[in-house]
């Protein structure tokens, strides 16, 4: 780890920042690349396809998962879909959709939504079906009908689990949106996959932007989850944490078995 190494490292990241904020001549000459106009245009495109796909995935998977969970049907399908979804190689999915269905915004949105559906569906199912039976019975006893039970009891109590699925889906989608340029849609992936045009500065700039976008989206969804979680759940969780803090340390616990219970 020489000083020169560190200097070189700083240079590449410095060049990448420079690429984001200043237009410059392309490696191939003739044209200019980088600068806020191009980078933010690509960022916008990236976000657009991400939100379209995430919205479509939520629209399809959330009602399906909640319905399955409410009626406690199709556990095997809901769970194994989530497991199978993890095995799908993103690159193959994009290539498959591009070759078999077509390219462009609509097709890429569809491909990315396919990636987002399994975690949302599985988690909606698990979240709703694991809601305490007693809470559901109590709601029915108060005279609530099926849909009211779903909307007022099951959905609110399932928010943390459902949002965990939405966040997983969002990460998958925003990551795979970088491959959209292979299916004829410009996103920040253009910078990453076009090293011969944009150079190392452009590639690293694209990587920085994608990483920032992903972390921002994740934080935003975590905030949304906090807003959506019923206050009762938050209080219960804080209480549980406080209790676990008061637990005696393992080495303070008596080593002998407790005496006979009354």
């Amino acid at each position: 780890m020489s000083a020169a190494f560190h200097l070189g490292l700083l240079n590449v990241f410095g060049d990448a920042i420079d690429f984001i904020f200043n237009q410059q001549e392309a490696r191939t000459g003739q044209t200019t690349v980088g600068g806020p106009d191009q980078v933010f245009h690509l960022t916008g495109q990236h976000l657009k396809v991400t939100f379209l796909a995430l919205g479509l995935a939520v629209l399809i998977a959330l009602p399906t998962g909640v319905a399955l969970g409410h009626f406690r049907r199709g556990e095997a399908v809901a769970i194994s879909l989530g497991n199978a979804g993890r095995a799908v190689p993103e690159l193959a999915l994009i290539a498959f959709v591009a070759a078999f269905i077509g390219v462009g915004l609509l097709n890429v949105t569809f491909a990315l939504a396919v990636l987002g559906i399994p975690p949302i569906l599985t988690n909606s199912y698990v979240g709703v079906s694991q809601v305490d039976r007693n809470a559901v019975e109590a709601a029915r006893g108060m005279g609530m009908r099926g849909l009211q039970v779903v909307a007022r009891v099951e959905l609110p109590l399932a928010v943390p689990t459902i949002m965990a699925g939405v966040r997983t889906a969002a990460i998958n989608i925003i990551a795979t949106a970088a491959l959209a340029s292979l299916a004829g849609l410009s996103t920040l992936g253009d910078l990453i996959l076009g090293r011969n045009v944009y150079g190392d500065a452009g590639v690293v700039a694209g990587a920085i932007m994608i990483a920032l976008l992903a972390i921002t989206l994740e934080l935003g969804l975590a905030g949304l989850q906090w807003v959506l979680t019923p206050r009762g759940l938050k209080v219960a969780r804080a209480g549980a944490q406080a209790r676990s803090r008061q637990e005696p340390r393992p080495w303070m616990r008596p080593r002998t078995a407790p005496g006979p219970r009354p």
Binding site: G8, L9, V12, F13, E75, A76, I79, S80, G82, N83, R86, A87, V88, P89, E90, L91, A92, L93, A95, F96, A99, F100, P119, T122, N123, Y125, V126, A164, G165, T168, I171, I174, A175, T176, A178, L179, L182, G189, I192, L193, G194, R195, N196, V197, D200, V203, V204, G206, A207, I208, I210, A211, A214, I215, E218, P250, W251, R255, T256, A257
Partner: protein, 247 residues
Amino acid sequence: MTPMATALAPLVGQVEIHSRTGENAPCQAQQGKVFCLDWAIDNFDRYTTPLLNQLLLVLIAVAIGFVVAFAFAVLSHRQRWLIPTFTAATGVLYTIPSLAFIFLLLPITGLGWETAIIVLSVYTLQIIYRNIVAGLNNVPPESKDAGRGMGMTDRQLLWRVELPLALPEIIAGLRIATVSTVAISTLMVFANVNTLGQPLYQQIDFKTNIVIAGGLSILMAIVLDVMLLLAQRLLAPWRKPSMEAMT
């Protein structure tokens, strides 16, 4: 490695790759044909190296991820404050998309196996760690008391009682980590590693190729998953593998 490196080195853009017809011409010419069996049989050997590379990459990455996650899990079993810290740190790393991760490492480790292994093993950390911690937490207090009653020290208790009883959760974590690592490892073609993503990326509009390369990757995930499932049945026969959903 070398022919692959030259094929990818400048990532010559999709233009040239897309116009490449040559040897696939007869098969590609049949528009609408989903799968050319003849071509697949004749050319299957071109998938063996990428397949083996990908398998090796997955095994190395999951092994490294497991060792690191295991060490931290055992450490945080005694130092509880480590749990939220390590979970948050690995959570942030997990959020970084793999393509971005590869090229953020470009100025530091360059492209190649090293980068691919770092990226893939970092992604496995969170899920394996969380499952080991959950497994250790789920050990019934009665079992621990029984161990203590037999005069076990903390260390003996950990290795002889707690870890064996946590095996189902630990293997469940390994299964999730392995399956997702197989899927992501196709993307390591962008880190100049000749995985199944290489044939995929090289002829991205050739349907037969996409079906074979994508299918092999999914098959690898399934086979490894089933092997881990069998391992769990052998090592922890007292508990049926649960169909737990963890995301």
